[in-house]
């Protein structure tokens, strides 16, 4: 609403954030929530590293260690990396394609609240009798009879937050297909938008198998089903398949947007067009496609037989080809460019060798016979942390520096940023490089302690020191973010080298984004305008007129809250494996579902036409934001 420029009471601000459907506010909420869970999961990792610092340590118990490793993996993938990338996708995709908002602003808000309440539900397990303890993969043979409610929390929490992710993915696809500004053809879209599109398509096809897997587990654990119970004819391998049909594409869901972010940073600070744009697009699509063909490489030792293993081994190795294309394109973009080594660029330069190292160990594991040796060892831990930290976390940190002015109209401190990079980067390599050797020397993953005299002591100690450095790096990063509150406004295009539409928009961004839809005349549209000396920023495709905007709504929160309540009912189901059912379980389940479906019916019955912002109101808002005469 146009009243957003006036000072509001605290309660009104909270209400505003609960009901908002503005993609920029939701992006900030994703950023905050993602950072919270990133900090929690990072803290869990530090506890584990302290436990493993020396042999026969008794810092934490074996059971708690299992809970920590499960929650660390689950939280980092579902509740930290995903929302942090969603923060960037929410903020940048509509701006990069010149849209007013996403296609379904209501669903955008619903996606956030489902994710957030699901995540909160999962974390309540720590206070309600123990967290899940069967690993983030939660193999049915291990999790089916796990005592207590830990696994139930895992199933229900991920189910709710998974719906949120699915809904957001669908929303991004439709936004990118239908909401592009005039002239923004598919082959002129910024690469981040392309990766957001492909990654959303992966979400769309990867999350339903997870949903089904979780439903099967839910029925088995809480309602007397027999999917995984072999005495009743069940089969636990079904879970492994469903989980990895989801789980492997999930890796690409996370890493593709990270690639996209670097594909924005590298051309900007090489001040050169992205090398091989069309091959980058092709490689992105190919990675997305092949990502679905390789899930059984996580199951080489399950015993699917040599034929299946051979097929999946070859398919896995094939993914190295499009990924290699991307790496060469990034290097050739830098090659001959006029390079500025800013903090985001530093992260990009650190990313390339780290990610390649993770990729190479991945190809090693693709070889099925070798994987029998490496399976479930620390080599695996080293590999996927090189890919995830070296690829995704560096992308998130680098882009936080790069896009902070878009989010908050403030710059982060460059000097502190570079220090953060070095502390974090060195800590990261110290932590995980030695784990390759630990794995090759036979140390299994997911053990809570080990005996001395096996040659593992030194490497484990180094790894813990590195983890502490990473922790310090994250704290420095957070301090940098907090300090930015005191810094002066950054204004439009603060790096001076912005190429795409998001840099062309005046700061602070009004809630309707561009007041007139811009006309896109080629790849890197803002760069083109700057080259032609256009002081205005962009040329526009329409005259200044009324803008149609969506209404705020509290219903997404209510729908999500209903499922949150229903989950408690399912948790204490009388048919559950954990034998402490409550009499109120079924009524609570029903009440929760009624709240959800009731809110959905209200949404369906109540017309929601949105509202029109008139020309005069737009001019008034812009005068308040930028002062008289529209200084930007």
């Amino acid at each position: 609403m146009s009243s957003h420029t006036q000072k509001k009471s605290f309660g009104a601000s909270v209400w505003d954030y609960i009901t908002t459907v503005d993609h920029k506010k939701l992006a900030v909420m994703y950023l905050l929530a993602g950072t919270l869970f990133f900090a929690i999961a990072g803290f869990e990792a530090l506890l584990m590293r302290i436990q493993l610092m020396k042999p026969n340590n008794d810092f934490i118990s074996a059971g708690f260690f299992n809970e920590l490793l499960t929650m660390h993996g689950t939280t980092m993938l579902f509740l930290a990396a995903t929302p942090l990338l969603f923060a960037f996708m929410n903020m940048l995709v509509p701006l990069q394609i010149g849209a007013r908002d996403v296609a379904f602003p209501f669903l955008n808000s619903l996606g956030f609240w489902l994710f957030f309440l699901g995540a909160v539900f999962l974390h309540l397990s720590f206070f309600m009798g123990g967290a899940p303890d069967a690993g983030w993969t939660s193999y049915a043979s291990l999790s089916l009879y796990s005592p207590g409610h830990g696994i139930d929390f895992y199933v229900l929490g991920l189910q709710i937050s998974g719906f949120g992710t699915l809904i957001s993915g669908l929303n991004f696809i439709v936004t990118i297909i239908t909401m592009r500004a005039p002239g923004m053809t598919f082959m002129r879209m910024p690469l981040f938008t392309w990766t957001a599109l492909v990654s959303s398509a992966l979400i769309l096809f990867a999350f339903p198998p997870l949903t089904v897997g979780l439903v099967l587990m839910l029925f088995d654990r809480m309602f007397g089903g027999n999917f995984f119970d072999h005495t009743m004819g069940g089969n636990t391998v079904i879970w492994e398949h469903l989980f990895w049909i989801f789980g492997h594409p999930e890796v690409y869901i996370l890493v593709l947007p990270a690639f996209g972010l670097f594909s924005e940073i590298i051309p900007t600070f090489s001040r050169k067009r992205l090398f091989g744009y069309s091959s980058m697009v092709f490689a992105t699509i190919l990675i997305g496609f092949l990502g679905f063909m390789v899930w059984a490489h996580h199951m080489f030792t399950t015993g699917l037989g040599p034929t299946a293993n051979a097929i999946f081994a070859v398919a896995t190795m094939a993914i190295a080809v499009p990924t290699g294309m991307k790496v060469f394109n990034w290097i050739l973009t830098i090659w001959g460019g006029s390079i500025k080594v800013t903090t985001p660029m530093l992260y990009a330069l650190g990313f390339i060798p780290s990610f390649v190292a993770g990729g190479v160990t991945g190809v090693m594991q693709a070889s099925a016979p070798l994987d029998y040796q490496l399976h479930d060892s620390y080599f695996i831990v080293a590999h996927f942390h090189y890919v995830i930290v070296g690829g995704i976390v560096t992308a998130l940190f680098g882009s936080a520096h790069f896009y902070w002015p878009i989010f908050f109209n403030r710059m982060l401190d460059e000097k502190l940023g570079k220090w953060t990079f070095w502390v974090f980067f060195i800590g990261f390599h110290l932590t995980f490089f030695v784990q390759h050797f630990l794995g090759l020397m036979g140390m299994p993953r997911r053990v809570f302690t080990y005996m001395e005299g096996q040659g593992w002591d030194q490497f484990n100690y180094i790894s813990t020191v590195g983890a502490a450095m990473m922790g310090v790096g994250v704290v420095m990063m957070v301090i940098n973010c907090l300090l930015s509150i005191k810094r002066p406004p950054a204004g439009r295009d603060p790096w001076g080298d912005g190429r795409t539409l998001e840099w062309a928009i005046p700061q602070p961004i009004p809630f309707y984004n561009f007041r007139q839809t811009p006309l896109v005349r080629g790849l890197d549209p803002y760069w083109i305008e700057k080259q032609e000396g256009n002081k205005e920023g962009m040329i526009y495709a329409e005259p200044l007129g009324d803008i149609h905007m969506p209404n705020n709504s509290a219903l997404p929160f209510v729908i999500s809250l209903g499922l949150f309540i229903a989950a408690f009912g399912a948790l204490y189901s009388p048919l559950g494996v954990a034998e402490d059912s409550r009499t109120w379980a079924i009524p609570v389940l029903i009440i929760g579902l009624l709240i959800t479906f009731g809110a959905m019916i209200v949404r369906s019955v109540k017309d929601d036409h949105g509202f029109h912002l008139h020309k005069e109101e737009i001019l008034e808002i812009e005068e308040q934001l930028y002062g008289k005469g529209g200084k930007k």
Partner: protein, 208 residues
């Protein structure tokens, strides 16, 4: 075009469901949603096929003994016909004939209700025989697959009813046209899933 515009059969657009930006988004979004539903049901079908006829040692239930094709055939006919009548409803929606659309939607609703009643009878009958949800891996997989479809049917019926009641007094406009269209799309999808259930569960169960 504006939502408040009053239309006559002559000014009504050829594709009213896509005449507004919101409508267009809704139709594209719903097709994409259906794509993800396809994957959901594919996973359930795969699980069912893996657990078909599997149970504790000495289980007496198998697809051959359990399923009765005449009943499944009657259900199939009801649902297939309801898909046809929903096509008629959308045909009249496009011709701006609100009354005819409501009539055909009501017929669709009744046919869907008939299907649901037969399914409830079928489940009741099986449970009576001792083939309960917890009886075996086979029973769990069967009830989950067919039950998920049944839940979709129920949701579709509630959806149609709500739409019909909500719009009974105000007729068609560009705001509710996409809603009717999308509901019909959903109904067709449910129908297609049933064709696969009929084939994979019932036909292949009894004959294959």
């Amino acid at each position: 075009m504006d939502y408040n515009t009053k239309f006559t059969p002559h000014t009504w657009p050829d594709h009213p469901e896509q005449a507004t930006m919101e409508g267009k988004n809704k139709v594209v979004g719903f097709w994409i949603f259906l794509a993800c539903e396809v994957v959901l049901f594919a996973s359930l079908f795969a699980t069912y096929l893996a657990l078909k006829n599997k149970g504790p040692a000495g289980m007496e239930f198998s697809t051959q003994e359990l399923f009765e094709l005449p009943l499944a055939f009657a259900m199939t006919m009801l649902l297939l016909t309801s898909s046809l009548t929903s096509v008629y409803a959308i045909y009249h929606m496009r011709n701006f004939n609100f009354k005819a659309m409501q009539t055909w939607l009501a017929i669709t609703l009744l046919l869907g209700l008939g299907f649901l009643c037969l399914e409830i009878y079928e489940f009741y009958h099986y449970v009576h025989l001792g083939f309960t949800f917890s009886q075996s891996a086979f029973s769990t997989a069967f009830y989950t697959l067919v039950g998920t479809h049944g839940a979709h049917v129920t949701l579709g019926l509630i959806w149609f009813t709500t739409l019909m009641i909500r719009n009974a007094k105000r007729g068609l406009n560009l705001y509710n046209a996409p809603k009717f269209f999308v509901a019909a799309l959903y109904w067709h999808f449910i129908d297609v899933v049933w064709v696969f259930i009929f084939t994979v569960v019932y036909l292949m169960g009894v004959i294959g």
